[in-house]
Amino acid sequence: MSTMDCSQFAEQLDEWLSGERSAAARVHARECHECRGLAEDFLAIAKTARDAWAIEEPEPSPRLWTSLRAQMQEEGLIRDSSRQAAPARARVQPQIQSKPAGWFAGWFPSIVRPAVAGAYLAVLIALSILFVGPSGKQIDDSQWLERTQVSIKPLTAELNSAERSVLSNVSTVNPILSTSLHQNLAIVDKDISECEKSVREQPENELARDFLYQAYEQKADLLAEISDRGVDNQ
């Protein structure tokens, strides 16, 4: 016969769910259909939540850090790393895991590789074309496509050149960074490819073009960042 009532069982429910089950609670659960059902359901909910969500935590998009860092740079929260003391700089060299770091804000002076600086300038030129171009004028799809392709051609040439240069330098200096770079390049190249497809399908769509230029910015940013780290590691 149970010496525990339902409210007392409810008070011990947390312990029950964590596996600490007193003899009185066991007797009550055996005899009380409602409390047993409650405990079983709570266990099922907790197990489903744990199995579904807790074991494999999702990872946010690689762009999140890029965006966050840009915001921090704008707010002046990040100290210019080139002015850091050498010992601290040597201690903190994160391996890029899945993203390019930093957007345009504030890093033009830090670009030391001519090829990357060139790519950066090309992006700026392309953006200028985008923003000062005749977006208000009535032109047809083929003209938009042609205009976009014309602006992209020198940009992709610069980026390809920068990519070859950076890959060549990094692979000899830092194999780990090189692996990380390849992984990140694959991500941004896929992004670029998807954006290019969108522009081909909807050349008049300003947002699609904007995304494409942003994808190129991201690649230039990645190459600049890796180039910078390659220099640091030399």
């Binding site: 339902c6 409810a10 429910l13 947390d14 259909h33 409602e34 059902g37 409650l38 079983e40 359901d41 709570f42 266990l43 099922a44 909910i45 907790a46 489903t48 939540a49 744990r50 199995d51 579904a52 969500w53 807790a54 935590e57 999702p58 990872e59 946010p60 998009s61 999140l64 850090w65 965006s67 966050l68 860092r69 915001q71 921090m72 707010e75 929260l77 990040i78 100290r79 790393s81 850091q84 601290a88 040597a90 201690r91 903190v92 060299q93 994160p94 391996q95 895991q97 770091a101």
Partner: protein
């Protein structure tokens, strides 16, 4: 040396000096958990990313004030929960206190115990999609406590610190969250059974 090899207190100290790599190191250590919390709270990846960014931004803005009174992770989760709750409050279009983000009906009285309608057990009939839908129907405060405890594994004393409430309040809110989830999930199971009966050409009501 990679940031992953640096003890967290050192990363925090470097970040307090504005070290970009230390910020990134802290972000790398904690971003999955914070994003996961936001995602389970709002159920939408784009929104969860915005909230994660906002939580880290607030963290890094305030990091110079961190003195280690609480665990860094607890402090970060407190910021993240506040960011999410604030967002949910704005969405609902009204300013509410933390108490009001729980369920006013249940808070004002004894939790319902309508066991008579819950003869079917949830075990074996639950999946993550149904659970996510049910979680999204919880009042935000319940949702936060449930995710922190049952998904992220925080203890009640930690949740109390994160949510700014008492340990008893945390326990009480978790119990009510589970009760509400149970009701919602049983309704889902019943609805599924009704649909199956309809598909089989039987009566559409179980009553």
């Amino acid at each position: 040396m990679e940031t992953g090899d640096i003890p967290e207190p050192d990363l925090i100290r470097l970040a307090q000096q504005g070290d970009a790599a230390a910020f990134e190191g802290l972000y790398r250590v904690h971003n999955r958990r914070v994003y996961s919390l936001c995602l389970r709270m709002v159920g939408n990846t784009a929104e969860a990313e915005d909230l994660t960014q906002e939580a880290f931004l607030q963290l890094f803005r305030k990091i110079s004030t961190f003195r280690g009174e609480s665990a860094f992770s607890t402090w970060l989760h407190r910021l993240a929960v506040n960011v999410v709750l604030m967002k949910l409050r704005k969405k609902s279009g009204k300013e509410t206190s933390l108490e009001q983000v729980t369920d006013p009906d249940e808070d004002s009285g004894t939790p319902r115990r309508d066991f008579g309608t819950l003869d079917v057990r949830l075990s074996g009939s639950l999946d993550r999609v149904n659970l996510q839908r049910a979680v999204e129907q919880l009042p935000p405060g319940y949702r936060a406590v449930f995710v922190l405890h049952d998904v992220q594994g925080f203890e009640h004393n930690e949740i109390a610190e994160i949510m700014g409430c008492s340990i008893g309040n945390s326990k009480s809110q978790l119990h009510k969250a589970r009760m509400r989830l149970r009701d919602l999930l049983h309704e889902t199971v019943r609805e599924k059974a009704r649909e199956e009966r309809r598909a089989a050409g039987g009566p559409s009501s179980e009553d």
